[in-house]
Amino acid sequence: MAKVLEGPGMGLMKKWGINVPNYVVVTSVDELTKLGQANEWLKNSKLVAKAHEALGSRFKLGLVKVDLDFKAAEAATKEMIGRQVGSITVTQVIVSEMIAHTEEYYCAVKSTREGSEVLVANCGGIEVESNWERVKRLCLDIGQAPSQESLEKLAKEAGFTGPLAKKMAAFAGKMFACFDSEDAQYLEVNPVVVRAADEELVALDAVTLLDGDAKFRHPDWNFAFAAEFGRAYSRQELEVMAVDSKIKGSVKFIEIPGGDTAMLPAGGGASVYYSDAVVARGGKLANYAEYSGDPPDWAVEVLTEKVCSLPGIKNIIVGGAIANFTDVKKTFGGIINGFRKAKSEGKLRNVKIWVRRGGPREKEGLDAMRALKDEGFDINVFDRNTPLTDIVDKALQVK
């Protein structure tokens, strides 16, 4: 799943005929000033300015400002751009038109195993979350699109009446069209509001999750996907992602500040079991990492360098199951190069390395790892006869 920031998310909705407020995404005040000269609405409407970054609780951080005139929007933009929040620097601000409204509603479309669901509620904002039973749903089979009647029925079930029921049905229909055509996995508008000016339904805030795997058939997805866990990706993470996008197989890396057990396991399945084992043993994860699908050794080397550079680590878990086709000798070659480089840069002092692996050329790979002992590494190497996560037990027992 790939999260899309508000700007491009609203762009996609607009493409499918959903009313969204006017908005611009800017990277500097100058840009906003120029846009103000070109767009009447920026001068004539009340505005909202928000930091356009994958940040949680923006409101609390003062990164959302409402009810602004253009001057105030410029001031807010100036204040937000360049602000440092944790490891993230705000680089973009989205300035949008404030829509005067009274009522707030809810509409979402989500992917399910059986097909998809259209969700509608005649309350919105925070209210919907505390009144989840008021959300009515229409279940659709795989390949099925909702009919106008079924959507109207849904709207009526949710408590909409008269012309508003028709409008809500039409809105939900457009949401479904956007969801289906854009390979979305989740599309949520909360709130949907009635614009005082023309009584039309407008999407005020949107959550857009797209299927990143479908990017190949959406040439207009010219935006980057945002991190999904309330912060932007770090430089190290982005560097590993850049490598990942270039290779056969994959390498993944996510930092978890404050941990002391670094992870360098193989395989999407085993890596999670290794992380579980660390947590179960009372350890603190310093990162999540994974290499799989027989990636080239240089990619594994880059990943290893990132893992070795994590601050304050005491153990590195080089775990892995019995590989099907990942060449253990070759991928371990990348790890060994990464270790040597880290050591030559003065890293890995007082760091214990724990290895467990099986698979094609396991003996050669494990022997090469064992040989690192002679180069002064504190390394413990185990083969398939040691159960998968036992190295974590050993690592975290030793104090």
């Binding site: 999407g268 999670v272 698979g359």
Partner: protein, 606 residues
Amino acid sequence: MSILANKDTRVVIQGGQAGVNAARRMAEFCYLIKRPLNVEAFVYPPDAGKTNEIPYGSGLIAIPIYKSITEATKHHPTLNTSLVYIGADRAMKGGMEALDDSHIKVVSMITEGVPEKDAKVLGAHARKLGKVFNGPSSIGIISAGACRLGVIGGAFDNLVLSKLYREGSFGVITKSGGLSNEIIWICSQFADGITTAIGIGGDAYPGTDYVSYLEMFENDPQTKAVVIVGEMGGDLEERAAEWYGAKKRRVKLIAVVSGFCQESLPKGMKFGHAGAKEGMKGEGSARSKSDALKKSGALVPPTFGALGPAIKETYQDLLKSGQVKEPVEPATLPKLPKTIEEAMKADEVMVAPLIRTTISDDRGDEPCYDGYPASELINKGYEIPHVIGLLWDKRLISKQEAEIIKRIMMLSADHGPCVSGAYATILAACAGIGLSQSVAAGMIMIGPRFGGAVTDAGRFFKYAVDNKMSVDEFLAYMKKNHGPVPGIGHRVKSLRNPDKRVKELVGYVKSLKIKTPCLDFALEVEKVTSVKKDNLILNVDGTMAAVLVDIGFPVDSLNGFFILSRTIGLIGHWVDQKRQDSRLIRLFDYLVNYAAPKRREVPPLK
């Protein structure tokens, strides 16, 4: 018995190289269980009409490649299973093509990164047709002793270690590919091994889920217990629990779920598999899955490490109750023939080498010339002439010798466009011929009359010096046995119009105070011949030859100095013509003396 994949499974593989690699692995398994290769066809339009050669034992089996599934099943009507190795952007079309063919009953998709929507449509289509769509992102399916689909099971040694050559009693269903092998191994070490292991893929919506496969295992009398390796995200494990708890089941269910670490990680952090994502309200969490499975009566070990003992416990119960018997291991198993490289590494074979080399070796991280690494030569100040010395005469020549060679090369790099070699290269260049062929055209001209006399000149001067001949004896010997002396005589230059290159080279070498017996002898020869005829002077070929013999180069290498140097010029001429975009050259009639008979009538054919 087994499910999904058995002795009657006949496979078509859709895709290119990845599919070929899988077929090799599958052939290894077929060889282990002494059955014919189960792959009968490939579908890969770019190579349609050709074959893929799949090693089986020590031989190769040619498997035909077709352009469509329909064509493949027409030629191989027993095909019933397709493995999809097509790229994510075309996987949907390929999967549909296979499902729509009436022969194909099982489609397993290995492709990763298939859009979720496509996977859902494929799964729904298969259900509608009453077929099985497994995957995407599946590592494969393996039935011990019967059938392997994909690379699941890993390398040959692992197949043997995991006792996949004969049936056990445990079914395995995993999302993860790597862990499937781990579980198969655990089942073989803590119990009697597996019946069938299925990788369903780690995507959010696998085409076929745990429940469908549990149902199949339930109906397979050989399978006594099923091991599920789950992970957080989605509700497949909960559905499996629901199925297991719904009524008394014949099979025992053992399950582990990953993702407990989630509880102490940043919310929403995405893990390895696309499907491993917890919902917003905690549904799909490892804990909710694990609890549901426990409640259903399944055996749920607390950690992955405890899985082995849990499997062992279940196996012991099965043994005690008489539901399974200790397996009988076969006395011998086929050994996979080693490749020559593997056998040599193990000191098991000796191979008579085809060629022998004594000058260079690039098997390390860089080429070594006569044992010296190229980079070290560079860094220690050695130059091209030293490399020539190493590769042509296997010795590190002195600075002085290198200087001589450098001068020889500079003097013979080019001699204008009119000489045979350059002219041939230019002619070819103007005809639009490429660099290497045009240079080769010029190179072909090097022979007894142009540039190719160096070796012979060196050989005869050396012969004379070695045999302490006088100039007269030498000339008489040459006249009697060989004819004109190579290295003596020039078409244009003469005593009065000396060759500056010769003067330069002789002057330099003479200034070095080294012994030059051949050069001295050659100059003596010139004294005699040039008196007889003005242009019978020591030419540049002869001078080079004598000097090179004097500094110890083997006679057979001598023409090489001219060839190497002149290549510089020939390349220059080609580039020159190319840059000018020269037109095709055709001889003018007036440059030809037409001495053929005049036009006449052709007599009738007899």
